[in-house]
């Protein structure tokens, strides 16, 4: 008899505990996306329009993003301090060279960084395409309203009409990048 009552009470307690565990368990800190990569291709009709921005490149000239309309753009959010960005930099450098003839433009967005370190990074990895400075993360903020950018590196593939067609959240591998580009340009590398 006592056992029965105790079982009932235990059952109630368990149910209550499980419920609470769910309700309060969500508080782990979420920082950058290093280590977790996902490549996403947005289906037609679900491709958000990339926001326009005007910013200063690392070499000091002004750049307007809408000037890239009509080209396929690979927009890469990076920082010289960011380990996974350093890991994918060679990939980007190679892909940029390979797709230049196909008319694909690569543009970097240098987040939370300074010019000296950023230029040194570009020299180091042979990145020849331009990057704009986003030390205040304002460009990132704009883009986060349309795609869930959680940290760096994040690579977006934007089609000729200015819509974001694909994204890699995290370190992009050569395979992932070229797959996305192939789908968008209809061409393979080279």
């Amino acid at each position: 008899m006592v056992v029965l009552a105790a079982t009932v009470l235990a059952g109630v307690t368990l149910a209550v505990v499980l419920l609470t565990g769910w309700a309060t368990g969500g508080n782990s800190g979420v920082t950058d996306v290093a280590g977790s990569t996902s490549a996403v291709l947005y289906p037609a009709g679900h491709r958000p329009l990339a926001p326009d921005f005007t910013a200063t490149t690392l070499t000091g000239s002004r750049l307007r993003f809408s000037s890239y309309r009509g080209q396929v753009v690979v927009l890469n959010f990076w920082g010289s301090w960011c380990g996974p960005c350093r890991e994918e930099a060679p990939t980007l450098a190679v892909a940029a060279r390979q797709y230049r003839s196909a008319g694909v433009a690569f543009l970097g967005v240098d987040v939370r960084d300074t010019t000296a370190s950023a230029l040194a990074f570009a020299r180091d990895f042979g990145i020849t395409y331009p990057s704009v400075s986003d030390s205040g993360s304002e460009i990132t903020l704009d883009f986060t309203t349309v795609v869930p950018i959680a940290g760096t590196p994040t690579t977006l593939v934007i089609d000729r009409t200015g819509h974001i067609t694909g994204a890699v959240f995290g370190t992009a591998t050569y395979q992932e990048l070229t797959d996305l580009l192939a789908k968008v340009t209809g061409k393979a590398a080279g």
């Binding site: 008899m1 029965l4 009552a5 969500g26 890991e87 987040v111 370190s117 903020l141 986060t144 950018i149």
Partner: protein, 546 residues
């Protein structure tokens, strides 16, 4: 209804215990006990005062480890340290959830059971209270002298009139009255007062429940975030720009408000003399902010205790520190690093701060420096100390390394720590630099210049939709508590019987919930007032009669 009970009942027994007793005797009379009865028994146990007491103890006891051990939410570094200093004990404690007590399932079980017990007790009583809102006090007992408080005196007024006068007096004091339906039982008045006590009691307990719900609201829909901001820089409120982000269960990064904040200037002043020399006197941050991209830019002064409200979130000034500015030229003469580097002051006083400079793209080799920034430096016995928190005599001490910083393979590192495993030391001793001085690295590896320093602030961005409801419930709980403590439920009865040429007036009273005393004084003054009212009425009748 349990409200109408014999005055001889124990006034200290709570309604719940009374029900308990009555239910138990009913059960005993019934005989056999089925499963439903056992459920009822279990429920009654859960909602009993005894279990409530036990659960309260467990709640208090369970909170103790949460205050003694480092907790993950507030002191993650401390938890790590605990692991290193207690390698065998730490995993066991972690298993028991002792490094995150207040989010642990067992702690939740305690307070949820407590609240279940509370609800199970309070809700039926609320219904009972609503039901008894119009109920009348019981009839006056025959022998009022047997009540805990009684008084007796005589008057020349007729019994019926005496009862009238008594009723008027008692009604004047706000008592709820009951008069006899007919003359068969004699002349009497029943009076009861103090129903608000139960209202206060229930309000208190329900308000506590409201606090719990508010906390849950915050846990589901609120978030906390941190960001360190160097003077002269800007940050936009987006996940990738935050140093830490703790979303609630149902919150995503999309819920962050799209504001940007620029730290224009930060000032801190310290006490320069007296016993409190070195204590911060004031600090404030001049910021400009825009609530959304392209929105109007406003300025504000952030201080401790004075947060900024923007986009439904609040931005708090939590702390500050120094970021020395370094310029590094590599072996090839290129400027490869030129920025303010936040250094963190630990527990050592006067803002003695530590940090690292990682020059990832120096050629031919990566360079790294571990440094100590001393705001007001004094060398004592070969050891560099900071004797004042303001930067009155800033000195930087650096140790230089070259090699592989380990970041190229894609791991993430803290910007305040450097992994020297793949590096070799370039300078044997720490090198001291004053602002403006440079250190030439051996082997032509390059130069590092300590150009100056700027302050940084740490900001906390929080959103808690449960905050205002919690405050309202807290105030309601306090109100209910005061009401239940200050109001006494008591009954007063008056009987008037003819005796001889006059009338004997008997007054009886009891306090149902008067464990603290205080009814005696009220009864004494009521009795005196009734008597003088009767004597006055008698006197005025005599007057009229003449």
């Amino acid at each position: 209804m349990t409200d109408v009970r014999a005055p001889e009942a124990d006034p200290f027994e709570s309604a719940a215990e009374q029900d308990d007793r009555e239910d138990r005797s009913r059960d005993r009379a019934a005989g056999t006990l089925g499963f439903a009865d056992w459920l009822k028994w279990g429920w009654r146990q859960l909602t009993s005062m005894r279990i409530a007491l036990v659960l309260l103890f467990l709640l208090a006891l369970g909170s103790v480890p949460g205050s003694m051990l480092p907790q993950e939410g507030t002191d993650a570094a401390g938890v790590q340290q605990y692991y290193t200093s207690h390698p065998a004990l730490a995993p066991l404690l972690n298993h028991l959830g002792l490094f995150n007590v207040f989010a642990a399932p067992w702690f939740a079980a305690i307070y949820l059971l407590l609240f279940t017990s509370l609800v199970g007790c309070v809700v039926p009583r609320t219904f009972r209270l609503a039901g008894s809102a119009r109920a009348l006090p019981p009839r006056a007992p025959r022998h009022l002298t047997r009540l805990p408080r009684s008084a007796e005196y005589t008057t020349v007024l007729a019994p019926a009139l005496a009862a009238e006068v008594a009723a008027t007096v008692l009604a004047g004091h706000g008592f709820r009255l009951r008069r006899p339906a007919d003359a068969s039982g004699g002349a009497w008045v029943s009076a009861e007062k103090g129903y608000l006590r139960e209202v206060g009691n229930l309000l208190f307990h329900l308000a506590l429940l409201g606090v719990l719900v508010s906390v849950a609201l915050g846990g589901l829909f609120g978030y906390k975030a941190d960001r360190l901001l160097v003077q002269g820089t800007t940050f936009a409120d987006t996940q990738s720009a935050l140093d830490e982000f703790y979303p609630g269960r149902l919150v995503t990064a999309a819920d962050l408000g799209p504001f940007t904040i620029t730290l224009n200037r930060f000032d801190a002043s310290y006490i320069t003399s007296g016993a409190q020399r070195g204590q911060p006197a004031s600090f404030d941050a001049q910021i400009s902010y825009a609530a959304y991209p392209g929105g109007p830019v406003r300025t504000d002064q952030l201080e401790v205790n004075r947060p900024l409200s923007v986009d439904g979130a609040k931005v708090y000034l939590i702390g500050h520190g120094y970021a020395p500015v370094f310029k590094v030229t590599d072996a090839r003469g290129q400027v490869v690093y030129d920025q303010a580097t936040p250094f963190i002051s630990g527990s050592s006083g006067n803002f003695l701060s530590q940090g690292v400079v990682k020059v990832l793209d120096a050629q031919p080799e990566q360079l790294g420096f571990t440094g100590v920034f001393v705001p007001t430096a004094v060398e004592a016995g070969g050891v560099l100390e900071s004797v004042f928190p303001a930067a009155d005599n800033p000195v930087v001490s650096l140790i230089a390394y070259a090699g592989n910083l380990g970041l190229n393979s894609g791991v993430t590192q803290s910007v305040y720590q450097m992994d020297t495993a793949g590096m070799r030391r370039l300078t044997a001793d720490p090198q001291l630099l004053l602002p403006g001085q440079s250190l030439k690295l051996p082997g032509g590896q390059g130069t590092i210049t300590f150009t100056g320093y700027v302050p940084w602030v740490s900001l906390a961005i929080t959103h808690d939709p449960g905050q205002l409801p919690a405050l309202i419930c807290g105030i309601a709980a306090l109100g209910g508590l005061l009401l239940s403590f200050m109001v006494r439920r008591r009954r007063v009865f008056v009987r008037a019987r003819a005796s001889g040429p006059g009338t004997t007036v008997q007054i009886g009273g009891l306090a149902r919930t008067d464990a603290s005393g205080g009814f005696e004084a009220e009864f004494a003054s009521l009795a005196a007032e009734l008597r003088s009212a009767h004597h006055q009425a008698a006197a005025s009748r005599q007057h009229e009669g003449e």
